[in-house]
Symmetry: C2
């Protein structure tokens, strides 16, 4: 499931010890992100906490952004893994139930997974092309650029659940829905550290109402 080295790492860890080191660095990165945020996070501190010399850090990660990108990918993999797991455990009959499920799973991840707030989920489904460079967001554009595979997987799930009603209209609607949901959920966690339940509910409502104009009930 996890493929941290999917083009993100400078050098793929060969030995078991190296792989553990990379994982430790990602763990500490996640914790530090939650503690101090992206700007205040220093590569020195990540390396120090992970018990890895700074030089070794840069053997694996080309720069600070690459570290965060790798973490974002790991988190994204975990997120999709959970959705797939729940769906294969109990397939849903209604597409709306499925969007609710995705929202719930997102909330669960935010609550339990350190550093998960960094994944700008909306960027996953959108094209990477934009030339404008926009602060922090930028770092994920490039990150997920080769990751259309994952995006496709998610869309395939929805299309399957939606009764095979694919098409350009659906594609665009899904991208919009994901983008909007991501933003509202971020707001929910800004409002309350554990995610304002009212806003989470509102998020589900937003998606349902929006997609109701497009997808049929089964």
């Amino acid at each position: 499931m996890t493929n941290v080295a999917g083009g993100t790492l400078r050098r793929r860890p060969a030995q078991r010890r190296s792989a553990e080191r990379v994982e430790r660095m990602l763990d500490e990165c996640a914790r530090l992100l939650d503690e101090v945020g992206y700007e205040a996070l220093t590569t020195k501190e990540v390396a120090r906490r992970a018990g890895v010399p700074i030089g070794t850090f840069y053997q694996f990660f080309s720069d600070k952004q690459a570290l965060v990108r790798a973490l974002a990918l790991r988190n994204l993999d975990a997120f999709l893994g959970r959705i797939v797991a729940r769906l294969s455990a109990a397939p849903l009959s209604d597409w709306a139930e499925m969007t609710d499920l995705a929202v719930d799973e997102f909330v669960a991840m935010k609550r339990t997974t350190p550093g998960f707030g960094i994944v700008d989920f909306g960027e996953v489904l959108s094209a990477p092309g934009g030339p404008a460079i926009r602060g922090t967001e930028r770092m994920l554009d490039a990150a997920l650029e080769n990751n259309a595979i994952v995006a496709d997987r998610l869309r395939a799930l929805v299309v399957e659940q939606a009764g095979g009603a694919a098409g350009p209209g659906l594609d665009r609607a899904l991208v919009v829905a994901v983008e909007a949901a991501d933003a509202v959920l971020k707001l929910a966690f800004r409002t309350r550290p554990d995610g304002d339940p009212d806003l989470v509910a509102e998020c589900k409502l937003l998606i349902r109402r929006y997609l109701a104009g497009l997808l049929p009930r089964t």
Copy 2:
């Protein structure tokens, strides 16, 4: 209209010359943000381009974030000013027309105003409280914290247009709508530098469908 010094500046410019300097610094900040983004923007370069020594820069702005905050406030003022102007020129009968207008005005600002992309519009209406520190977004939390006045003004406009149907439900719905719209519009500009018209249209649709469950047609 513009109140750059609304608590953002270290020292309020007393003389005309100082005020011009502050404006020039904000102008150059905006241009640099569009050119290189937030991270790559350096205070030295802003000062140099504005023809201001670095020491003077720090007389007015406590740090790099404060500079961007001040710009965000200036942009926000301009944005609200345009909406108010258009509404007072020709009041609308339908709340949906008004949300469309706000979207159009937002798009127009993005196209014409340098550095406008930095304003995370959604944060304006949401409470500042969140303790979690999140990369770039963080810099606006604090920025707009004392700016609830502006947020209220915008809400008042909507309530008025909506036929006085205020209440906690409407408040929350508006916050959600603004947050979602902001995200989708950002996506539109990521997709195409001039703002993908399809996505702009989709944004209007999203808001209409969502709010249609709450607000009556007039």
